[in-house]
């Protein structure tokens, strides 16, 4: 795409360099620490499923038992597979059950015992990664067998709390035109330090993310994709205290997109910043391997801060998300960077400002499948005015070539959408797409005009903020309330007790499959190419 905003390429390069400078210390921290959730993800990738009679997953039981005995400084794998080999347990589940009763004497093995434990752990994880790789191939096959939807993909949410209610709703939404189904999680799951087990029928304002719920919904959408001749993607949330585990389950069950922001949990859920950044790196390595598109959460900043005043914080966060994402192995085509249409309609030229922001993001990230979020803050209860605002959002999305449109509901803020609300919303976006879907090719803002000036101003403010962040450090900037107003100190928030400094002999068998040079999956697909390569898109 050629630039329509006449952005200064040197300034854009400087912005990326500053983001890298701000992010490097965080990456270094992530590489020298682990978390309880990263270690539990290792066990999940090795196939450990199920829970005890209280519903506490075996992965939690085993990691907790090892933490209390040998500690987790060497990772869970060395003591776990050592005990498995030397203790005569026939499975990880049997080991976990015995460990939960305090019947296992864990140790950090040395010499030949350590080598044997490492080999066994790697073999176990190879099975999990083979499944993730096979899922990636299978997604590609399904797309070839059905078809790749044209962008922008239409993204709809279901959230009943009951997976068996969600399934027919999701299938109906796909038939009505949704290209992406997101199953909203139960409120509060982000602060659970375990992933619930099995199919769930009760949730608050959403449905629990569980491996079985993932499997059920993906199977249902496969059926619907075949029926419609169009691949319908499934989305969930790799966020909160169990981010690495949920990312792993997503890879194992062929989810297609995952909400996965570098700072959202810190700012909006008060999860400890260190915990978040460590968990995030592992999660993104998994997503990279699995061919999953991440969706970042910059739209949220604009729900607490003013969408004009804080526009540059969105760009700064996107650049940070890009840096962390690429460092973890994600390709451009997997970076669903987020932003939103949240400027007050009372602001003069508000639509022009929205166009400027959206086009700026498009030009900064030309190959990213941008996720554009509809108005929520200024949806007042006047559903008629809200419908108009949603149409302008859709139009802005078409004109600036956004990739994934979350469909706005005119009843936003009033109730969970009625069937008719969703139908009207889809009618709205279909009209705009059919009427103006190719307007983007003719949208050239006047040189020196308001849109170009506004975009340049926001880029300039972004670079200024990045300079400050890269000087004082990202953790300090977050503690000072730079993003989304809230102040989050580096040692505050939930989950810090689950962060562990790695010892010299730390061993994580997943790293063999995830770190640089080891990322080429068995299926022969290059993970650095876009996951939307087949017959895409823009």
């Amino acid at each position: 795409m050629t630039t329509r905003l006449n952005l200064d390429p040197a300034l854009v390069r400087e912005a990326r360099a500053l983001a890298a400078k701000a992010g490097q210390p965080i990456v270094a921290m992530a590489k020298t620490h682990t978390t309880v959730s990263v270690e539990r993800a290792v066990l999940r990738l090795a196939g450990l499923q199920g829970a005890d009679a209280d519903g506490m997953p075996w992965v939690n039981r085993l990691v907790d038992a090892i933490r209390e005995t040998t500690g987790l400084e060497y990772g869970v794998a060395l003591p776990a597979w050592d005990a498995l080999l030397t203790g005569g347990y026939d499975s990880l589940a049997a080991l976990a059950a015995a460990a939960a009763h305090g019947k296992v004497a864990f140790r950090i093995p040395a010499g030949a015992d350590a080598a044997a434990a490492r080999a066994a752990a790697s073999a176990a994880l190879a099975t999990g990664f083979a499944r993730i790789d096979a899922n990636r191939v299978q997604r590609q096959r399904m797309i070839e067998e059905t078809s790749q939807p044209r962008m922008p993909w239409i993204y709809l949410i279901v959230a009943t709390g009951d997976i068996y209610e969600d399934i027919p709703q999701a299938q109906a939404a796909a038939r009505e035109g949704a290209d992406v189904i997101a199953v909203i999680r139960s409120t509060g799951q982000s602060l659970l330090d375990y992933v619930p087990e099995g199919a769930t029928r009760e949730g608050f304002a959403g449905t629990y993310a569980t491996q079985e719920n993932f499997r059920l919904m993906r199977a249902a959408l496969d059926e619907t994709s075949r029926e419609l001749g169009r691949y319908v993607r499934l989305t969930n949330y790799a966020s909160g205290l169990c981010m690495p585990e949920i990312a792993s389950l997503a890879g194992l069950e062929r989810l297609d997109m995952m909400l996965n922001d570098c700072m959202y949990g810190i700012i909006f859920r008060d999860i400890n910043p260190r915990r978040t950044f460590i968990d995030q790196r592992f999660s993104r390595q998994i997503h990279a391997r699995a061919g999953i598109i991440i969706n970042t959460g910059e739209d949220n900043y604009l729900t607490t801060a003013d969408a004009v005043d804080a526009a540059h914080t969105v760009v700064v966060s996107q650049l940070m998300n890009e840096f962390f994402g690429k460092e973890a192995g994600l390709a451009d085509g997997q970076l669903g960077l987020g932003h939103a249409f949240e400027i007050s309609p009372d602001v003069p030229d508000s639509f022009l400002l929205e166009l400027a922001h959206a086009q700026l993001v498009r030009e900064l990230f030309p190959d990213a499948p941008l996720k554009y979020m509809p108005p929520t803050k200024h949806m007042t209860g006047n559903v008629f005015a809200g419908y108009l605002l949603d149409a302008f959002f859709n139009l802005c999305g078409m004109m600036t070539d956004q990739s994934i449109l979350l469909i706005g509901m005119m009843t936003e803020g009033i109730h969970t959408p009625f069937l008719s609300d969703r139908d009207l919303a889809l009618e709205n976006v279909r009209y705009v797409r059919d009427a103006a879907g190719r307007l983007g090719e003719s949208f050239v803002p006047a040189p020196g005009g308001l849109i170009e000036q506004r975009a340049k101003l926001v880029l300039g403010e972004s670079v200024a903020l990045l300079r400050r962040i890269s000087d004082e450090g990202l953790l300090t900037a977050i503690a000072d309330g730079t993003f989304g107003i809230t102040k989050r100190p580096a040692d505050g928030g939930r989950g810090l007790e689950g962060v562990i400094s790695r010892a010299d002999g730390y061993f994580n068998p997943a790293s063999e499959f995830l770190e640089d040079g080891e990322r080429a999956p068995a299926g022969g697909l290059d993970p650095r190419t876009s996951p939307v390569e087949a017959g895409a898109a823009r």
Binding site: R175, G188, R269, S420, I485
Partner: protein, 267 residues
């Protein structure tokens, strides 16, 4: 007719015309199905008191549902003398007036602790009231010089809220509840007020003013929830600040204010 009796106004006084939209679980495919669906919509409109009614729009949504827009005339009369509203019992003050009243009436900063309790992670409401940014053009409580705000954020456990309120010396506790599935906002508010009633009853310290807010609360059930005040949808920070000043900072100049000082016990 007295001025107390009104009807809906379409384009002529007294025409009684209104518009409604709804969905029925009936198919809208074949001509016969369409005729039956529109008849079903007409029947519902009639039972709702629309006579005559006109189905101006019917659209099938999937194989099993139809969306309707209906215009019609209602015969019902509205008797304005029978309308009951919860009158605002406190005056709306500017931020300068709120600061002045706290300074003169309380003689120190007014301490507000805010939180979303239970599993509710939606801080948008509490943030809109507390954050400097505020909403609807009004700055939040953090902006008021004489108010000290402690925003505990989301998913705060009730015992933590009680303990933190005591530690901060809270004059008022603001709790926001957005999630309403299975009436969670009601049960959470009751749990919260009960915890404050039960907390350390012998300390001699008066419990803080308890204020809940959220889009789905009925402002008239404060007593049922055991709280002092409920704010519903559309509440602005200025209204909350005015109420806190009225309830907690006695107006030195007004005798009427005397009765208001014990608002903590009024519910």
């Amino acid at each position: 007719m007295t001025g107390n009796i009104v009807r809906p106004y379409g384009d002529t006084t007294g025409d009684g015309r209104i518009q409604v939209s709804f969905t029925l679980p009936v198919p809208f495919g074949t001509p016969a199905e369409k005729a039956r669906a529109e008849g079903a919509a007409m029947q519902l409109a009639g039972k709702m008191g629309l006579e005559p009614a006109m189905v101006v729009h019917g659209k099938g949504m999937g194989p099993d549902y139809t969306f309707f827009i209906v215009y019609g005339r209602v015969s019902h009369l509205v008797d304005l003398s029978q309308v009951t509203v919860t009158e605002r019992e406190f005056p709306l003050l500017s931020s300068a007036e709120v600061n002045l009243r706290i300074r003169t009436g309380l003689g120190r900063k007014l301490v507000v602790v805010g939180a979303c309790i239970g599993t509710d992670a939606h801080t948008v409401g509490i943030d809109a009231i507390l954050n400097v940014k505020g909403h609807s053009g009004e700055k939040g409580l953090e902006y008021y010089r004489e108010i000290r705000v402690v925003n505990l954020g989301s998913q705060v456990a009730v015992p933590d809220l009680v303990a933190r309120s005591a530690a901060e010396g809270a004059d008022a506790v603001l709790v926001s509840q957005v999630v309403t599935q299975r009436d969670a906002h009601i049960s959470n508010a009751k749990e919260m007020s009960a915890a404050f009633r039960e907390a350390d009853p012998d300390s001699g310290r008066q419990r803080p003013l308890l204020v809940v807010g959220g889009p789905r609360f009925d402002p008239s059930i404060a007593a049922e929830l055991g709280v002092d005040k409920i704010f519903g949808k559309g509440t602005t920070p200025g209204e909350v600040a005015s109420y806190l000043a009225y309830a907690l900072a006695p107006d030195p100049g007004g005798a009427a204010a005397e009765a208001d000082q014990k608002v903590g016990a009024s519910a």
